[in-house]
Symmetry: C2
Subunit: 354 residues, 2 copies
């Protein structure tokens, strides 16, 4: 386990990692949307403003097909740095881990078979209430059904997400639930001031400390849906929440609705865990007694600047990348040298596409 960095309860981390060693994994990729991402400059998930809504389905399509159908190119930053989905795809393929896409409020449906939940997108929390109270109940209920279903099919259910603007709604939910959260971002010069302004404004509308009301007012559909998945799935199998700040928000809400903490862990990249502008490890410890496991994929050693960029703070995490790399290493014993080699091969393939 020396391949990983552990924070929180280290006995639990050892038990968790031991229990999933060489086992079967299933990656569930939850795509969603909050109009909060339409606030100028708040996210880099998607090269141009009008393209942001296509990022979640495009990531799902890229994971599955190796190219996108909804848009022409795979999601990239304006200067051509690829989606963290690349890291996820390479991790899954290196160890033949199956995956399934779940639409929990994406504005655009992906062009592949996916689990439909009937959830709406979230509204812009800077200007209005995100979801109705009944949307939040629906999200938790359907999350519980999907979680129970998928949990019965695997030894370890890995849950990742793509929701542009989601770090801002997560920050708002964490603060409203009483945590001193700072926040990671897909942009190295994290637009902290802007996010804080949006969050502070949203928080003024909170008039109830009921967790469902809080998520309805200032959250997004992904948070209650994934918390519902964790709630039911952790009864029957191991669950790895694959992500950074957004999964911390899921965890904070899940603490309110309940889950089996001995079956849960959060997994991310060291780029998030070691991000000085956020306080990820402390935050997880404050929320829950589950282990936070992070992995350094050593992309700083890559010969490609587009891969190196992840280690320099661009899109440090996303599409469950960190958790999938951890899963891939646990399933097949994949080592970091081989992982980097596979990632470079995929990067090469992508950038020589016609």
């Amino acid at each position: 386990m020396e391949a990983f960095q552990i924070s929180g309860n280290s006995d639990k981390a050892t038990d968790f990692l031991e229990s999933i060693k060489s086992k079967n994994f299933l990656f569930s990729f939850v795509i969603s949307y909050t109009e909060t991402c339409e606030i100028p400059e708040i996210t880099v998930a998607g090269a141009e403003k009008d393209l942001i809504q296509y990022t979640p389905p495009a990531d799902a399509e890229y994971l599955h097909y190796g190219y996108c159908k909804t848009i022409e190119r795979i999601p990239m930053t304006p200067d051509g740095k690829p989606t963290p989905g690349l890291l996820t795809k390479v991790a899954l393929e290196s160890s033949s881990i199956p995956h399934i896409t779940i639409n929990a409020g994406s504005k655009i449906a992906p062009q592949l078979p996916f689990i439909e939940t009937g959830l709406p997108s979230g509204k812009n929390i800077y200007v209005e209430k995100s979801l109705t109270d009944s949307d939040v109940s629906h999200a938790v209920d359907y999350g519980r059904i999907v979680g129970r279903n998928l949990a019965s099919l695997t030894d370890c259910l890995v849950i990742g997400e793509c929701i542009p603007g989601g770090t801002t709604t997560s920050l708002a939910v964490l603060r409203a639930l009483g945590y001193d959260a700072r926040v990671s971002s897909s942009i190295p010069t994290n637009p902290v001031k802007l996010k804080n302004k949006v969050v502070s404004s949203a928080l003024t509308r909170i008039n109830s400390d009921h967790p469902y009301s809080i998520v309805a007012e200032i959250g997004d559909p992904m948070i209650p849906f994934v918390a519902g998945m964790l709630n039911s799935a952790s009864d029957v199998t191991k669950v790895l929440l694959a992500g950074g700040t957004q999964m911390a928000a899921v965890l904070a809400f899940a603490e309110k609705i309940g889950f089996q903490d001995e079956n849960a862990a959060i997994g991310t990249t060291s780029y998030v865990a070691n991000d000085d502008s956020a306080n990820f490890d402390e935050l997880v410890k404050e929320i829950s007694d589950i282990p936070a496991i992070s992995v350094d994929p050593e992309l700083d050693k890559s010969k490609f600047s587009g891969l190196k960029a992840f280690s320099e703070g661009f899109a440090k995490e996303g599409v469950g990348a960190g958790g999938c790399i951890i899963s891939s290493m646990m399933k097949s014993g994949l080592d970091k040298t081989k992982y980097l080699e596979n990632a470079e091969k995929e990067y090469d393939r992508l950038f020589t596409l016609p």
Copy 2:
């Protein structure tokens, strides 16, 4: 294996049954729709004409929740005989077999999480072409994706369907592909004349012997979708096609696109296999060298006339009932006495619902 009746290659049947004994099963329930069912008197799937379109989602909801959301009562014949979904639900629950719903062209989406495929419903083959050629390609492609995905999660993928009017489109496809098919029905006085009239009329429009063109002209969305699932899933796991005539049509089309026959079998109730108005066993033998396995659930021994009715020719099969009973017996060693007891308990529960 003396619990079952075998037809076709009996060595293959023994191998197949041995290979799934005490293993993990996953039931995938494919719901679909063909406007062919709107021809008066052609089906009994749904109590009233306007309600027929709700039968597929209602069956899915009943399997999951134990009651329906889209309509008030579970699907029944006009005189109160319940959906064969009852037999399926009891089989799945008796051995804790998980299931997942797939929407492959249902007119109405079920009120639960399901796999969405984006397929349209089929048109009425008596009056017009059912699907576009590209719909059929889409169905096969998406079927292949879903099949590969689900196959990686189980030792035996059981596939059932609900498509009102589907025996008629199946009969048409079988005849067009050159098989002397007679056809079973959900009505004991099988409206053979009416079905033959519809099929003969539809067959006059066939002007190509390409299997995709045939299915597009006179088939339905379920057939190419499930054939696609079989095509990819049989590469990696055992596949049990759970159904009667409709699964024979799937098999006939799948013979054209290919599948691993040593990993496939068809499973149904003895009520279909022994139906004198159809020729199920001979038909399967004519189409493919895979075993046909049937089970007699001994519902004739029930104290409830609503359960006895299945053995008397009402809704002899459907919602994958026969294949799920076989799976349940293979997974946990469930015997027929216990199965009947569980079915009667469920029947009791349903008919004392408020």
